[in-house]
């Protein structure tokens, strides 16, 4: 496996040198080469993963010794751990941001972004992705949304803390908890950009697999890995826009006084004007993405393991057509 990748990578570099001269910026930063973009996704995903892991360590330290002072909390969380005791709001914020980072930034973008970009052109015999430019935009939108998500950790009242499912009214009403102010706004902006990035990437994978296969590489000869990436991308294209809609409606409820998800709310001694909406609508919109999301996370891993086990046991895939049908 490693040898194949190494050989292909070298081949790709040669191509580049023959055709045009690449500067440092076009080669390593604003690169349109699928292999470089895959590496960018990998590194960004790993950094986000490390941040997510650190958060889960903090959460478990709190659970192991609840409400006990801890020097590490004091050093890392500062004003959110007065005297070293973790504030309940920041615990919820850790739960929320950890969940968001792991589900979206690591398991969706980190996994599909890295492996789909790297392997699709190599395994179907294409020079590069269908649109190198869109691919680059997809990565940089992902980077931007990661940066916004991380920056939300540093706003005055803390990051979003309503759980990774951000159910309104908790996430919609700023008075309900400190994290539902600026932190939640940044969360929504970050996710909107993330979804744009994910859609550009997924469209690119779908188009590449359909149109750019080399001669003789029919759909029934595609490696299972590619089938998995292909189906994952289709699921992403179908389900992510619904989350985008939910996020937009939530932004409207929060900032422009609409009542899509809010009705009959009495909070901090006053009744809100919102009338006629339903939080259950948000739950449905969210889980229209949330359920397929488990397949977006699972399928690439299934495809990769099928191919690795088959290759290393020197055997063809058993029941290829049944596996494709399962995807």
């Amino acid at each position: 496996m490693g040898q194949v990748i190494a050989a292909a990578t070298e081949h790709g570099h040669d191509d580049g040198h023959h055709h045009h001269k690449e500067t440092f910026v076009t080669k390593y930063i604003f690169s349109t080469d699928h292999k470089m973009i895959a590496k960018q996704y990998l590194i960004t995903g790993l950094i986000m993963g490390a941040i997510g892991i650190l958060m889960s360590v903090l959460m478990r330290m709190q659970i192991a010794n609840p409400e006990q002072p801890n020097v590490i909390f004091e050093a890392l969380l500062g004003k959110w751990a007065p005297g070293g005791v973790m504030d309940p709001n920041i615990y919820l914020a850790l739960v929320t941001i950890h969940g968001t980072i792991m589900v979206f930034f690591v398991l969706t973008a980190g996994l599909s972004g890295t492996f789909s970009n790297f392997l699709i052109p190599l395994q179907i015999g294409a020079r590069d992705m269908a649109s190198g430019f869109l691919n680059m935009v997809s990565y940089w939108l992902f980077f931007l949304s990661s940066a916004i998500m991380i920056s939300s950790l540093f706003v005055e009242l803390g990051p979003a803390a309503a759980g990774w499912t951000i159910y309104p009214p908790l996430s919609a009403v700023a008075k309900a908890m400190p994290g539902s102010g600026m932190g939640m706004t940044l969360w929504l902006v970050s996710m909107a950009i993330f979804i744009a990035s994910s859609l550009l990437g997924s469209l690119n994978y779908v188009v590449t697999v359909i149109n750019m296969r080399t001669k003789g590489m029919s759909m029934t000869r595609l490696p299972l890995t590619i089938w998995a990436f292909f189906v994952t991308a289709i699921i992403g294209v179908v389900s992510f826009p619904v989350l985008f809609a939910a996020a937009l409606l939530l932004i409207m409820d929060r900032s422009f006084g609409t009542s899509f998800f809010l009705s009959d709310i009495y909070i901090k001694g006053e009744v809100l004007a919102h009338q006629g909406g339903s939080p259950v609508l948000f739950e449905h919109l969210f889980w229209f993405l949330g359920h397929p999301e488990v397949y977006i996370v699972l399928l690439p891993a299934l495809g990769i393991t099928s191919e690795i086990i088959a290759t290393n046991s020197r055997k063809p895939i058993f029941g290829y057509r049944a596996m494709v049908a399962l995807f």
């Binding site: 709001n89 009214p169 809010l262 009495y266 029941g319």
Partner: protein, 359 residues
Amino acid sequence: MTAFLIILIAALFVIALWQISKIVQLGKSPEASSADGEIANDADNDRQGKYMLYFVIAMYVMMIACFIGYQDFFLPDAASEHGAEYDSLLILTTVVIMIVQFLTQALLHWFSYKYRGKKGQKALFYADNDRLEFIWTAIPVVVLAGLILWGGLFSWNDIMDVDKHEDPLVVEVYAYQFGWKVRYSGVDNTLGDANVRFIEGSNILGIDPTDADGKDDMVATELHLPVNRPVVFNFRSQDVLHSAYMPHFRAQMNVVPGMVTKFSFTPTVTSEDYKSTEFMTEKVRKINEIRRQKSKELEASGDVALDPYEFEYYLLCNKICGASHYNMQMKIVVESEEDYNKWLETQTTFETTLANAEN
């Protein structure tokens, strides 16, 4: 202990970094990696095959040890009528999953060991067998459909049907950041209309003062239920989403602002009887043993000792609702019809509350 854990985490982090740095190795040419001993030989394959086997055995030992070691933390027997059905469904599903998991994981790891790489060994070319694939697709489909239909759907329809009871007690459970209130429907067994827009002064639940049904409603801070009488719960929330979770009765329902959600069950064991079950007395004894030791430490350092623990049914919030979500709970008391009626007489009706407020 904490220091040890931190060192362990740091060590694992370094190992992870070192493993990641091996990616660089993949960039080397094939000749270079074979010279480094990067290509597996028979001895490597033999070792890795055995690791696979040891791994699966270790996993099963750990799993069984956890089941035995942590059985104190399992939920005790259900205290409601539908709870037994619910539990048997859970156990059935768990058993089916465990059998499949044992079989598939054992085979996966055993085959990895049995067919580990050997020089000169040829793999069998075997790409398709429609009959075999059909069998192992059809069996899970049938089993899953059975579990979902007979186990899941029918039980669901039965448990969620709140209109099936004759003469149920109608109770409203009201959630707010961060606590619960109960509203009893009084002699007419009908709850008065309510909306958060009526909240004013002592009318904390927003009961419509003009609705005659609401006059005899009673607001309480503890949920008292008579044993063996069906209860229909109407859930209402004042501010954000909450979830009313009554683990001992196997009941949970979302509490949604702007709408009324419903659930019903029949409590079958009184609080007193539940406390005196063997499981519970043993559990309480163990907890109090730990508390006694902790109290000694606390007293030695000049702190207040812990109170002994006593079991009660609780209603908990099970949906993140803000900073004090972790502490949002209400005591539930299940008692005999007589005790319940005696307790109910001590509660104030909404009419009296309003009259008192005017004076």
